[in-house]
Amino acid sequence: MIRRLMSLALATIVLAAVTVSASIADEKFIIIQSTTSTQNSGLFDHILPAFRDKTGIEVRVVAVGTGQAIRNAVNGDGDVLLVHSKPSEEKFVADGFGISRADVMYNDFVIVGPASDPAGIRGSRDAIDALPKIAESETPFASRGDDSGTHKAELRLWKAANIDAAASSGTWYRETGSGMGSTLNTAIGMDAYVMTDRATWIAFGNKATHEIMVEGDPRMFNQYGVIVVNPEVHPHVKAEMGQVFADWLLSKEGQAAIADYTVDGQQLFFPNANDGSS
C-alpha cells in the first residue's frame, strides 16, 4: 500500500515536471540584456505585459550588471540592450555592435548609510564633499566592484573627489563584486555606506536602519539607454522585433508605462526619450 502510494507520488512529480516542460511553447520572443536595477525594482513586470498584449512579442529579460550585459551582447547573446552607462553604450555602438542608441529614462543615484551616520554626511547634496568625509573617517563603504553601470558611476565620483578609493580596498573600502541587491545586503550587514540607484533602494525590502544620506547632486544623474544589437555582426539577432521593442519604449505609450510605475507612491523611473540629447 505504502509502496503504491509512494510510486504514485513520485509519478505525479515526474508527470508535473513533464507537463510544465510541454507548456513552455516556442513563441515569438526576444532576449534583452539589462541591469539588475530595472528587474529588481519591478519595472519590467509592470511594463512588459502591455507590450506583449500589443505586439505578441515575449520579452525575456536577462538581468546582470551593465558591464556583463554589454559583454553578453558583444557575444551576440541578446537582441536588445537596456543599460545605464552612457560612455560604455556609445563605445558599443561605435564599435559596430549596436545599431543606434537612444535615451529612454532616468533616475538618480543616492548614497545610503546607517542612521548613526559616522561620517556626518546626512543631508548633503554634494557627493564630492561627502565622499572625502567617508574616506577620512574610514567608515566602511561597500562598492559594487563588478564593472556595472552603478560601479562605473561610483568610480567617476571618487575620481572627481580626487580619492584613490581602490588603494584602500580591503580596509574601509570594500568591493563586494556582486549585484546591487547583494551589495545592499552586505552594506547593511556591516553598517557601511553604499551608492545605489534610487529605484532599487525604494523597492528594496531589507533596509534595516539605513537611510538616504546624499541625494540631489547633478553628478548622480542616472541615464538609461536602449540599443538594438547589430544584425550585421550577429546575423541571428532578431533586430526587427528588437526594434519594435525599442520603438515602443520610446513611444508615448511606452514612456507613459514607465512613468506609471510607482512603489509606495513614488515614481521610480522618469521617461526622457526624445529630449534632444542623443
Partner: protein, 235 residues
Amino acid sequence: MDGFWSVLGGAFALVFALDPDLLEIIGLSMRVTLTAVFFACLIGLPLGAAVGVFRFPGRTLLTVALNALMGLPPVVVGLVVYLMLSASGPFGPLRLLYTPSAMIIAQMIIVTPIVAALTRQVVEDLNREYAEQFASLGVGALDRLLSLLWDARYSLLTVALAGFGRAVAEVGAVLIVGGNINHVTRVMTTTIALETSKGNLQLALALGVVLLAIAFTVTACVMALKASAVRAAYA
C-alpha cells in the same frame, strides 16, 4: 526580520496558496534536475562500473580524476557551458543559451562525476566479493558489469540521490546559462537568489524551506520504494 516560525508559516502559506508562478518554478526545477540526473546516471553508472571492474592503463588516474571532479565548482561549469553555447561559441548555432536545455547540460556536467565516482566505489567493492564466482562460472565482461550494477541497485539509488541533491541545490551554473528569465528559466534556486538580492529575505527563506521540503519528499519516496523493494526481494 521576524522569527523563524513566521518564516516557516510563510513557506506553508506559499505552498498551500498554490500560486501558479511558484508551481511553474517548482515544476521547472524538478524537470531540469530530474532530467539532468537521469542523463548523468545514463553516463555515470556504466562509466563508474567499468572503471570499478576492469583493469586498464590509466585506471588509477581516471579514478583520481573522477573523485576530484566531484568538487567541480558550479560557477566554472556555468561559465564554460556559457562560452560553449554563446552565439560566439562553437555550439552557438544550436541556440540553446538561456533555455532549460542549457541548464540541464550544465547540471549534467556537475552531477555525472559524482555518480561515476560513487558508482566506481560501490561496484569495485562488490566485484571483490563476486570475483571468484565470476571466474569459476566464466562470466563475460559485459555480463559481469550488468550483474554487478543490478546487484548494487539499492546502493546506486543512493548514489543517484546524492546527484539529485547536488543538482537541485545548485545555483551558480544555472544562473549563468539560464539567465533566470521569468517563466522560461527561473527555478527555485535562482528565485531564492533573486529575492535575496531584492532584500526580501523572508520570502527567500520561505522559498528555501519549500525547496527543502521538495527535496525531502523526493528522497523519502525513493527511499520508501527501495525499502519495500528490498522487503519484496527477501520475503
